[in-house]
């Protein structure tokens, strides 16, 4: 930019001078230095370091991964894994067959209605259904323990169908 302006000035100065050839003295053009706006220089990244994580990240700990979902839900009076629970069973079964040193507790739950001990037995049926499904997908027996919490640890409080549905559930808990 500076060069263009300098040339422009010289040309105009020359034009001015040629226009005034009868004058006695040739004035020396004064080159005024006008302040030129500063432009951002390109970033110098030559000293930045990009970190690298060594080893593979355990997919179990990824809060956005499929293994973050560890609950299988059941219909009222039912101990059959619904279609919407099958991906949970499949994903964790796949992980456990690859990681034979990992063990899980499968905790079955019921909603609050009914007797404490009978509900413990019903919760056990839910845990057992998930356990059997995982064994069928190749997980070894020693990695799984099906237990029941019955109605003792509800995830949702309230005496309504929404809360009850949330509590009819088996959870996969890594040991």
């Amino acid at each position: 930019m500076r060069n263009v302006k300098t040339v422009a000035f010289i040309v105009s100065a020359a034009a001015l001078l040629s226009a005034c050839s009868s004058t006695k003295l040739q004035e020396t053009p004064v080159v005024e230095k006008t302040p030129v706006a500063q432009t951002t220089p390109p970033a110098d990244t030559s000293r930045d370091i990009r970190p690298v994580e060594t080893g593979t990240v355990d997919p179990l700990n990824d809060p956005k991964g499929v293994l973050a979902n560890r609950s299988v839900y059941f219909d009222y009076d039912s101990y059959v894994v619904r279609d919407d629970g099958k991906p949970v069973v499949e994903n964790h079964s796949a992980y456990l067959t690859k990681h034979k040193e990992r063990k899980v507790l499968i905790q079955g739950n019921t909603d609050e209605r009914g007797g404490t001990e009978y509900n413990l037995a019903l919760g056990q049926k839910r845990a057992e259904a998930v356990r059997k499904a995982m064994v069928a997908l190749g997980v070894s027996d020693g990695q799984l323990e099906a237990v029941s919490l019955g109605e003792e640890k509800p995830k949702a409080t309230g005496s309504n169908e929404a809360a009850w549905a949330e509590n009819r559930r088996a959870d996969i808990v890594y040991q």
Partner: protein, 423 residues
């Protein structure tokens, strides 16, 4: 590891003083015919820390079988009494007594039960008790009055056990509590962050079996109430629950899911000799020894929904006991073996029923009920009240007439177990 548990879950020794909110008992129903009994204040009873006559009066009233008349005066056991006047005022019997402080700091409590009609003495007691035990002595006197006038042993000096749930209670979120039958004297036997269910007193009243979820699965413990020592009776693969003592205290029946489905097992009181009893393909649970220790009542869903069955403790074919309704659980047998109490769901409501085992005749006793427990004299059943709001306990007499409600100011109380007669 066991030692650590003993430290973490140490029992409050019986010497300790209870520091918890007490349980309130409200009377909501009384017997059809009531025996009118006048109770006098005991002479000098203010020297003792507990007002003996007031405890006796409250016990007799709570039983529902007495119309308690306040004699409105103190009458010593040594005083001569105008029994005719008391008969005229409507009392069939009169309770009198005295309390005196002994040189060693104990108290001598004397009492007499007088028949106003026959004008004779029916009973008397005289005991030296510690300050702390004046309350227990009052209960013993009330038991004596009850027994002499009804022919049935009283339960006022027995204890009850239940689970208290304290929301945001930290490491006291769940407490296994022991209290007097009137709700007084609460003491915490075990406490922690995870649930405790199914407490069961040993027949001699020194131990309690219970299911704890402290290891993220149900495990059965037996704890000595006095020493605080506890042992794991069953921690098999899967769930371990529903402990029930044999009448002689040598064995427990339990529910285990170790074979894949929940089944009834028998084990010695020290955890040895575990063997399977039932052979169902579904759920067999909630075992209860019969009064003679020869049979086990239990819940099975082998016919579809849960029903109550009975089988020999030595094995064999079970016979079905309940036939009405599609959901019958929680069998409990009266100490004399004649009555079965259980929970039946009919038309969506969970109700307490009692059946005369000889005739099969059943009677509905209470609605909104689960977890029944017989008093040791077989006359009352304590149960958990699940209807809306805070969980509480209630008592109903076996004939359905007498009703009591036990509630606590804070927290929920549930899972009751009525303790045995103590020597």
């Amino acid at each position: 590891m066991k030692k650590l548990h003993t430290l973490l879950f140490s029992a409050t020794l019986l010497m300790g003083v209870a520091a918890h909110a007490q349980v309130r008992v409200e009377i909501a129903g009384v017997s059809g015919t009531q025996i009118p009994v006048a109770v006098a204040a005991f002479a000098d009873e203010s020297v003792a820390p507990d007002q003996v006559s007031a405890i006796i009066r409250a016990d007799l009233e709570r039983s529902g079988v007495f119309k308690v008349i306040d004699a409105r005066q103190a009458i010593s056991d040594t005083a001569s009494v105008d029994l005719g006047a008391f008969k005229a005022s409507g009392a069939d019997a009169l309770v009198v007594g005295s309390v005196s402080r002994l040189a060693d700091g104990r108290f001598q409590v004397r009492y007499k039960l007088l028949d106003t009609v026959k004008q004779t003495q029916l009973s008397q007691l005289s005991d030296a008790v510690s300050a702390r035990n004046t309350r227990l002595e009052a209960h013993r006197i009330a038991d004596d009055v009850y027994e002499k006038l009804t022919g049935v042993r009283g339960i006022f000096s027995t204890r009850i056990s239940y689970v208290k749930v304290n929301p945001s209670g930290g490491n006291h979120s769940y407490e296994l509590v022991v209290a007097d039958a009137d709700g007084e004297n609460e003491q915490v036997a075990a406490y922690g962050r995870e649930s405790i269910i199914s407490p069961a007193w040993s027949p001699d009243g020194t131990k309690v079996a219970y299911v704890s979820f402290e290891k993220r699965k149900p495990i059965i413990y037996v704890q000595n109430l006095v020493t605080g020592q506890r042992a794991i009776i069953a921690n098999e693969k899967g769930s371990n629950s529903a402990p029930s003592w044999s009448p002689d205290g040598t064995r427990l029946a339990l529910s285990l899911s170790k074979t894949g489905n929940t089944q009834v097992f028998i084990v010695n009181a020290d955890g040895s000799g575990m063997h399977r009893l039932t052979n169902g393909n579904g759920i067999d649970t909630e075992p209860q020894f019969s009064a003679d220790g020869q049979s086990i009542y239990f819940v099975s869903d082998r016919s579809g929904g849960p029903q109550i069955y009975k089988m020999s403790v030595n094995g064999g074919q079970p016979t079905r006991v309940t036939f009405k309704g599609s959901y019958n659980i929680s069998p409990r047998v009266s100490p004399d073996g004649k009555t079965l109490a259980w929970i039946s769901q009919r038309d969506g409501v969970f109700s307490l029923y009692a059946m005369d085992l000889a005739s099969g005749q059943e009677q509905r006793l209470a609605d909104g009920a689960t977890e029944p427990s017989f008093s040791p004299n077989g006359k009352y059943i304590m149960y958990a009240n699940k209807g809306g709001g805070r969980a509480s306990l209630a008592v109903v007499s076996v004939d359905g007439r007498v009703k009591q409600r036990l509630s606590t100011q804070a927290g929920n109380i549930k899972e009751p177990s009525w303790g045995p007669f103590m020597k």
